[in-house]
Symmetry: C2
Subunit: 416 residues, 2 copies
């Protein structure tokens, strides 16, 4: 949690954290500022001290809403620095940082860097800054084990409330999609039809999803997976816009919007067969559902997350499916890991992969997905079921937004 940051800094021997970039769509900056229209800012958090947010003078009021101590770049006039730097903007940028850090008394120790930003110019500025401030050691951490990922791994109740609200909106939109699809007429080739009589495409459905998410006031920056047939069997395929929506095919619908301004996410997947399910689809679904149920029933407080990945692999292996336990990078069968944390990043700690370190546990405050799946693209089959759970202070696991798990969605105007 956010309150762990100083302890994490101490454990990692960091004297300061520096976060750069915008306050929106930039998880570490959003985490500390709460977002808002503050662009190209620089946040400095020294060990044991409150963060200081440096921003453009014009964005001072917006920055102040963070509740942090705010200072303006105007205190360090860039034009003067540029003259001093013989018109070298990289050197001027490094000198400005040096002045800011020195002003804060940050002159020696280890400074760990974070933030979503344009890489090239920042790389040049910080490489030069390292040379002109040799008493500071500028480092970067591997993303998956970084301080922010560790802090964000457990959520406080206000964060959970926001993710839960995103879950409500997500499942409301999923319900709208289900209603829309099952209301459609169907032609003789079992293709769904739009009101104007034309055949319904994946692109049409995605347009509706985008619209309904926007109506609910949330953003969908990573898009939505709504894939049918072959594509349903390829977990990273988002679905081809021109593919037609047809009865009796597995449709993987994975939706992961976030709060407007780049805040908290929800992550949710259902697999649907419209009208009816062919035996092969039903069979695959039942195996995924059995794993989903088994994992849900066995979740234990503080257990290593990857224990459930192992359980999942074992159950699938018994039925002859390739899994990451037996294959290096399987492309059919069970091809991914069981889940991931969800927060300001759509994918964050804890990790459930078999090689994840043991620190990735289902501790109180974790918000994470359970998403077993099975994929056979050559047979035009894919099934995944995913819910996002919160590990509550009482040690119980709670699905943050309940939604039926049914495979078959009966068509209202069609009968076999």
């Amino acid at each position: 949690m956010k309150s762990d940051i100083d302890a994490l800094m101490h454990a990692k021997n960091f004297d300061a954290l520096v976060v750069i970039g915008d306050a929106q769509h930039n998880p570490p900056m959003f985490y500390l500022t709460g977002g808002g229209h503050v662009n190209n800012a620089i946040l400095v958090k020294q060990y044991g001290q409150e963060p200081v947010l440096f921003c453009n003078d014009m964005e001072r009021e917006e920055a102040a809403r963070s509740g942090l101590k705010v200072r303006c770049f105007g205190e360090f006039p860039y034009d003067d620095l540029l003259k001093e730097a013989n018109d070298d903007p990289i050197l001027a940028g490094a000198m400005r940082l040096k002045n800011m850090f020195t002003d804060l008394g940050l002159v020696h120790g280890t400074v760990s860097l974070y933030g979503q930003t344009e890489f090239g110019s920042s790389f040049a500025v910080f490489s030069l800054l390292q040379k002109i401030m040799p008493e500071l050691s500028f480092i970067g951490e591997p993303r998956d084990t970084s301080l922010f990922m560790k802090a964000m791994e457990t959520k406080d109740e206000s964060e959970v409330a926001r993710i839960r609200q995103m879950g409500r909106i997500t499942t409301k939109v999923v319900g709208q999609v289900a209603n829309f699809l099952t209301d459609c007429e169907v032609d003789k080739d079992e293709i769904l039809l739009q009101e104007d009589g034309s055949q319904l495409t994946i692109g049409d459905v995605k347009g509706k999803i985008t619209l309904w998410l926007a109506e609910s006031g949330v953003e969908n920056p990573h898009g939505t997976i709504f894939s049918i047939g072959h594509d349903a069997g390829v977990p990273h395929s988002t679905g081809k816009p021109n593919d037609l929506v047809k009865l009796g095919q597995t449709i993987v619908f994975d939706i992961f919007p976030c709060e407007a301004g780049g805040g908290y996410h929800y992550d949710f997947t259902r697999t649907w067969c419209l009208g009816y399910a062919p035996p092969a689809a039903l069979n695959l679904y039942q195996q995924v559902y059995a794993v989903y149920q088994k994992v849900m029933e066995n979740l234990d407080l503080n257990a290593p997350y990857k224990d459930y990945q192992r359980l999942t692999c074992e159950m699938y292996e018994v039925n002859g499916h390739p899994t990451p336990m037996s294959h290096k990078a399987p492309i059919e069968g069970y091809v991914h890991s069981l889940g991931h944390g969800v927060g300001l990043n759509i994918h964050e700690r804890p990790w459930s992969g078999l090689t994840a370190d043991d620190d990735n546990r289902l501790a109180v405050g974790v918000v994470a997905t359970i998403e077993p799946g099975l994929y056979y693209p050559d047979e035009n089959l894919g099934v995944r079921l995913e819910d996002t759970l919160w590990v509550r202070p009482d040690g119980k696991f709670e699905i943050l937004a309940e939604y039926p798990l049914d495979l078959v969605l009966p068509m209202k105007k069609w009968k076999k």
Copy 2:
């Protein structure tokens, strides 16, 4: 233009460009790949050669749609590298890059880095890569003068067609907003009313804008400025959600959406007074309009963009307004520069600031805004008029999406 990249590399003495990050919402990567769901990719473009796009194995098909030569990270097995690196992910990442570059024959020379990405981990990896590949020199450029900014400064006809289409959508939505507002009932305090009789807020209007943009299939990642009263006088204020929409106040409406997936933008501003304009608002508007007209009439092919910033300042100074010509960072009067290029970045070259270098010219292929304004927040007044223009091959300047410039929008159900 994109076809200038090799010439620009030659001029800057770059042996290779390396772009990292996602293909979406990452201008240099989008520029070379055309976007799509390709995440955490690495693009290598050597001088005189076609780019090579390295991607996750699962995203190979999506990456192939770029038309570029695609290779998969799986060729450089990460687990083996991690073992070799004694479980140090930063070293393993650097070794993987070394193997990739070596495989391409990129072993000496200057490599310039680009791309929107998580800074800390990339900084660590490339700092280490610099040490293990000392024959390569890894550099970053200042953003405003970088190779991509220079290449993107002029657009080819296919890019202009996409920006024009964004202009059509933008002005269509602006028309929807105007119709919606002027259809409203008005209460005795001159506040607009919603259909349910409640008072209309800025937040309500922004909700409609978001929705109508989504309906048109475009994204709005930077939000919209719709600000009234005091906030209209603060160019960076986006408008407070709870402010009420009232007659007779200047409303600055600045809208700058982009194609879905982080593509080309449009940028457009109108200032409206609903129902009627008080004399002070009308007076300010007329001065801004006079500058707008004067600049439009005087645009010359290949002229330095900043010449028109100077013209604007001179015209405003005559009327006693502070401007950047006479004041360092004015907070009232004319407080910004006249415009900027528009493309994959909402703000890009050419720049019009008085200190911009002379290379920022209105050359054929430039797409840029003209946006004079005047701001008096303490008087609750702000006016800005902005259109996006294209410098055509015949040397003429064309507004890409025409829309009336009127200040006063008459209310259909209200009379003074």
